[in-house]
């Protein structure tokens, strides 16, 4: 993949009660989001620790989003 077509891999930690529900609703409404965003449902965005974000980078993601 060259730089002109670089599409970052994004990991999104989404709170079950809001951001994940919003993504679910988007799906229900047939609204698409890019496939390079991977969602991990968490019980609360406060659950996300620094170590989880670092592990994501270690495993090759380009960006991490914490949504809640």
């Amino acid at each position: 993949m060259n730089d002109a077509h670089f599409e970052p891999k994004i990991l999104a930690f989404c709170c079950r009660h809001c951001a994940y529900a919003a993504a679910d609703l988007a799906g229900g409404m047939r609204i698409q989001y890019p496939p390079n965003v991977r969602i991990v449902e968490v019980p609360c965005s406060g659950r996300v620790e620094v170590t989880e974000i670092l592990h994501a980078f270690e495993r090759g993601v380009d960006g991490v989003m914490v949504a809640g």
Binding site: E49, V50, T51, L54, H55, F57, E58
Partner: protein, 226 residues
């Protein structure tokens, strides 16, 4: 508690040198509560080391372990069976923990990942202050419960000095004058008379001036049967 802070990552990388397999060992006591070397900090540092070594082109295998107290044999002994597989151990304990590891496991080099800084307390969330220098001859009973050895920049026994201005120390306006604090508290407690007595020079032989210290409690020692 013992208060410490983590060494800069670049210094830790330099200490680790060409080690390819490293065990980062945290301590679950003092350095956990001052957020310097507990399980969480071990995880963050191990991750940072893995990423940094990968970026530098020499990936390092970094494993993690945290013991309840790195300064007691009972807690570190279970690590022994794992140590053979590592080039070095990086300890995130205070200097006592690092030395305990080196003494107990002489075949494995344990390096320090922290700078042990002082004996103190968390004044507020994220702020730690020095309170004790372990001088071996506590005088808090003479100084209204405030230690001039740890908190006066000159360690005066008969303060304050002329550098005390508006309640702060001439060394740094962020340092409250310990003797001002002592005086104010003594006034409040009605114990000013005690402060008017001149204190003789301190016996520093009970501190570090007497060399490394040791306490032996015969009543607690385990005596092996003859």
């Amino acid at each position: 508690m013992i208060v410490a802070e983590q060494k800069p990552l670049a210094e830790i990388m330099e200490l680790l040198g060409d080690a390819r397999k490293v065990l980062v060992v945290g301590c679950g006591t003092c350095v956990t509560v001052c957020f310097a070397g507990g399980e969480k900090e071990v995880g963050i540092l191990a991750s940072a080391l893995r990423m940094m070594s990968k970026l530098e082109g020499h990936p390092m295998e970094v494993d993690e372990a945290t013991v309840q107290r790195q300064c007691e044999w009972e807690y570190i002994d279970p690590l022994e069976e794992r140590l053979g597989e590592y080039d070095v151990v990086l300890s995130l304990a205070c200097g006592i923990g690092v030395q305990a590891m080196n003494e107990r496991f002489p075949d494995t080099l344990t390096l320090p990942g922290l700078n042990t800084t002082f004996l103190g307390l968390p004044e507020e969330q994220g702020v730690w202050e020095e309170r004790c220098q372990a001088c071996g001859d506590c005088i808090l009973g003479l100084t209204a419960g405030i230690c001039p050895i740890a908190r006066c920049s000159k360690q005066l026994l008969n303060g304050p000095c002329g550098g005390s201005q508006n309640g702060v120390c001439e060394v740094d306006p962020d340092i409250p004058c310990a003797w001002q604090l002592i005086w104010e508290r003594a006034v409040k407690l009605g114990r000013v008379d005690q402060l008017l007595e001149i204190q003789p020079p301190k016996d520093w032989s009970k501190s570090r001036d007497g060399g490394p210290r040791k306490i032996v409690r015969e009543d607690l020692r385990l005596v092996e049967a003859e």
